[in-house]
């Protein structure tokens, strides 16, 4: 393949904003989407599915907050309330946030960052999406046949005795688990086997490092969830008794099983978000990422440490005090790689030329919120304070600061960052900033109040509360309404962008990773020549080209493979 020729197609097309052949108009009809093997289409289908789940989980959250506007009954009975918080948790965790970033942005971006035409196992990728659909349908069906009121953790013995639809919901989560395993497996293989020329392990974009670490957890932890839920189903339907003390079983064993998956699972949620952060901070600070190797290794360190801390969920379950101490110490150790990342991001921003575009606003939000979420985790990891804070709103607030303030905010940042690449359209920057601000304010109002009331002793999951917590609860509810408005505005301008947004250039942000070298939206086959990957954070290699409103490479041949290895 002649280099000169490919340069032309590579760059000439980049500038073009016409209705070129791309993955969206390549093949028509719903079936061409549902049975596609194209990672980009699968990523988009996942995006639609996962944002729908987010909406559903959000509706449940709104019901919860509205109910808590006043003590006693506001809009629903106590039984309905129990189901609401369970469904909110189960839908948000299993349907939305675990598949979240890897299955949507990861699926779309990972092969592009590798200069590859697809993930290594495209059929498995499609299978993963279908498993998600089936699992989600079963989980949603459980809502119709009676919902679940156990909390998303399905703790025994309540989950084996309640009359609600525990089997359907856990079966749904079981199937969703395999979807997650297949995504992780696929990413591991793709990253191992499909890196382009020039991309050694330590030349990979950090988003790929984070997806790789995430995939390790997905593959190693999720089978345990599978067997745990299977045992729970067997316990309910057959009465096996492994978790039933009246039959010689041990309910705390269930908690060990459950958290052996579900603690690593919170790193499945946060690690990809950290990967997005590394991309955003570098690009929008106009600077090479600081401490590349430290960030890369800290992802791996978090993935490995994640398997050693599950016991901190059982400090009050009668664990031996030696185990408590060990788990507490290990829990603190997770703070080290997390802080390594945060300090490296800060150092990247230092003396950078920071552009406050919407993705960067989310990145800054993340830094602030994740710092609070992470540091309050230390309160909960300390044995003495945890006894006081256990099962209070403090835990709820900590979890939401990490998961919402961390993962969701970074996810939103990632969506805004890659949106032009995904759909080939720009969104309204002004409205994006308004929405980002509302979400930041609404979020803090919702959850910071929960730190306060939690430390004052307000227990989580309670339907009723003492008069003195009313002000906090009402502030929290008002905050949640502001949050909802922020999201509605976002839905509005993103929908508008899809229809009437300005056409996006290939590289609107000046990023140096390979996905920005092809047109927006990308062509069906991604790259029509072998790529050479240099330093993913070599931002000076790009220059602003006002004629296309985007960035172009100073030396386009620098990203083409030098050898004809193909064939």
């Amino acid at each position: 393949m002649a280099v000169a020729n490919t340069v032309l197609t590579g760059d000439g097309q980049n500038a073009g904003v016409g209705p070129e052949e791309n993955y969206i108009n390549h093949g028509k009809g719903i079936l061409s989407w549902l049975f596609t093997l194209d990672h980009k289409r699968i990523g988009i289908m996942y995006l639609v599915a996962i944002l729908s789940s987010f909406f559903l989980g959000g509706v449940f959250a709104m019901f919860i907050r509205t109910e808590l506007l006043t003590p006693g009954q506001t809009i629903m009975t106590a039984d309905t309330y129990n189901k609401m918080f369970t469904l909110h948790g189960a839908v948000m965790i299993f349907l939305f946030i675990i598949p979240g970033i890897p299955a949507t942005l990861g699926n779309f971006v990972l092969p592009l960052m590798l200069g590859a035409k697809d993930v290594a196992l495209p059929r498995l990728n499609l299978a993963s999406f279908w498993l998600w659909l089936i699992g989600a349908s079963v989980a949603v069906a459980s809502i119709i046949i009676g919902a679940v009121d156990t909390g998303w953790t399905f703790y025994t013995p309540y989950s084996t005795t309640t009359s609600t639809a525990v089997v359907a919901m856990t079966l749904g989560a079981f199937i969703l688990g395999f979807s997650s395993i297949f995504t992780g497996l696929n990413f591991i293989v793709t990253i191992h086997k499909m890196r382009p020329e020039g991309m050694t392990w330590f030349k990979m974009p950090l988003f790929l490092w984070s997806l790789y670490s995430t995939a390790i957890i997905q593959v190693l932890a999720t089978p345990i969830l599978g067997i745990t839920l299977l045992l729970l189903i067997a316990e309910r339907t057959l009465g096996v008794g492994i978790f039933d003390p009246s039959l010689g079983g041990d309910p705390v064993l269930y908690q060990h099983f459950f958290w052996f998956y579900s603690h690593p699972a919170v790193y499945i949620m946060i690690l990809p978000a950290m990967g997005i952060m590394s991309e955003l901070i570098s690009v929008f600070s106009g600077k090479h990422i600081f401490g590349y190797r430290f960030i890369a290794w800290s992802s791996i360190a978090i993935a490995l440490l994640s398997f050693l801390v599950w016991g901190h969920h059982m400090f009050t379950s009668g664990q031996s005090s030696l185990m408590n101490m060990v788990f507490s110490a290990l829990t603190f150790s997770v703070a080290i790689p997390s802080a390594v990342k945060v300090f490296n991001w800060l150092a990247t921003m230092y003396k950078g030329s920071i552009r406050l575009a919407a993705p960067m606003l989310y990145a800054l939000s993340f830094l602030f919120l994740f710092a609070i979420g992470g540091l309050t985790g230390l309160f909960l990891g300390s044995l003495s304070t945890d006894i006081h804070l256990h099962d209070t709103y403090f835990v709820v607030a900590h979890f939401h600061y990490v998961m919402f303030g961390g993962t969701v905010i970074a996810f939103l940042g990632g969506i805004h960052y890659w949106w032009p690449k995904l759909f080939g359209r720009m969104y309204s920057e002004r409205w994006a900033q308004v929405s980002a601000l509302l979400i930041f304010v609404g979020f803090n109002l919702t959850f910071f109040t929960q730190f306060v009331m939690g430390s004052h002793g307000m227990p989580r999951r309670y339907y009723n509360y003492l008069e003195r917590f009313t002000a906090y609860h009402q502030a929290s509810t008002v905050g949640s309404f502001i949050l909802a408005i922020g999201f509605l505005i976002m839905a509005g301008y993103l929908a508008h962008s899809l229809m009437k947004g300005e056409l996006a250039p290939a590289n609107p942000w000046g990023a140096a990773t390979l996905e920005w070298e092809i047109s927006s939206p990308p062509p069906h086959n991604n790259f029509n020549h072998e790529m050479y990957a240099g330093d993913p954070y070599d931002l000076p290699a790009l220059r602003w080209d006002p004629s296309i409103n985007g960035y172009v490479r100073r030396d386009p041949s620098s990203i083409l493979a030098t050898t004809e290895e193909a064939g």
Partner: protein, 302 residues
């Protein structure tokens, strides 16, 4: 192995996103190994549950394992090891483009797999006859004749009635039966029958032969299973969960071998393409390996 180093055949269709056959082969192989790791972890959860329960209640396992047939378990172990050999041979045959040999080995492997399931079926059937089932279905009978007599009733009726039925038939059940009936009947408050000589099991104690209920009162009988411990049914729950899940994997393996056989007949492997055979064989070895652990942990407890 050179065949590995150079990837997988020449005439193979390479998917559009791979650069060459070797990359495609290596990807499949890594993917399969990762998948097998998840399979082992999946069973690992069950092994953990087994370990915790056994540490807490060793008597249940010592009691329960006497009712498993070591001979049949060993036979199945041999069958699976042989099937692993034929599966490996099938891979070699595919690499060497010996299609006839490949087909033969695939058929042999499948026959072994069916043989395994057949033996397992015999074992399950014997458990079923003796009412040695999981959890709430656990209703051990005294001997074969009575077992068949009562069986039809037992299957359809649950709870106190079952207990009453059994007690009616064996006017004086032995201790083993009585204890379990009390558990089953629960709050039903069934009267505790007096053990009598006449109705004792005529099956030899398991220590001396194949599965069967112990003859209570026999001086030589092993103390550990003369008296049924509380919650003895949990052993059988774990037994059925673990072997059942393994059995499902055997069925999956059979389906995969049928798929390979169809491919072999269609000529998919004529060009020396062997990735698919290799992957299925890897899976089959893991299924085999898990069985070996199940055999050790469930059958050979003493």
């Amino acid at each position: 192995m050179t065949a590995h180093g150079h990837g997988d055949g020449d005439g193979l269709r390479i998917d559009h996103h791979f650069e060459n056959a070797d990359q495609q082969y290596q990807s499949a192989k890594l993917g399969m190994w990762v998948f097998l790791a998840t399979e082992i972890l999946f069973f690992g959860g069950l092994f953990t549950a087994y370990t915790v329960f056994r540490v807490n209640h060793p008597e249940i396992f010592i009691f329960g394992h006497h009712f498993l047939d070591k001979g049949l378990g060993a036979l199945n172990t041999v069958i699976l090891i042989c099937s692993s050999l034929t599966a490996a041979w099938a891979v070699r045959a595919a690499q060497l483009k010996q299609i006839r040999m490949l087909k033969l080995m695939l058929v042999l492997t499948m026959l072994f797999a069916f043989g395994f399931l057949g033996v397992k079926g015999v074992e399950y059937n014997s458990k079923w006859k003796h009412g040695l089932l999981w959890a709430r279905q656990y209703k051990p009978h005294v001997d074969h004749e009575q077992a068949t007599e009562v069986q039809s009733v037992e299957v359809s009726i649950a709870g106190a009635e079952v207990g009453a039925e059994v007690i009616e038939h064996d006017s004086a059940g032995d201790t083993v039966t009585v204890e379990s009936e009390v558990i089953l009947v629960g709050e039903g408050g069934a009267p505790v029958p007096v053990p009598g000589e006449a109705d004792r099991s005529k099956i030899a104690p398991a220590a001396e032969g194949p599965a069967g209920l112990a003859a209570p009162g026999s001086e030589e009988a092993d103390d550990s299973f003369e008296v049924e411990p509380a919650n003895a049914q949990t052993f059988f729950s774990i037994y059925f969960l673990m072997t059942g899940l393994h059995g499902i994997h055997v069925l999956g393996g059979i389906a995969a071998f049928i798929w390979l056989l169809i491919g072999a007949r269609r000529g998919d492997f004529d060009s020396g393409h062997f990735t698919r055979v290799d992957m299925v064989a890897l899976y089959w070895h893991v299924v085999d390996l898990i069985w070996i652990y199940l055999f050790l942990l469930l059958y050979l407890i003493d």
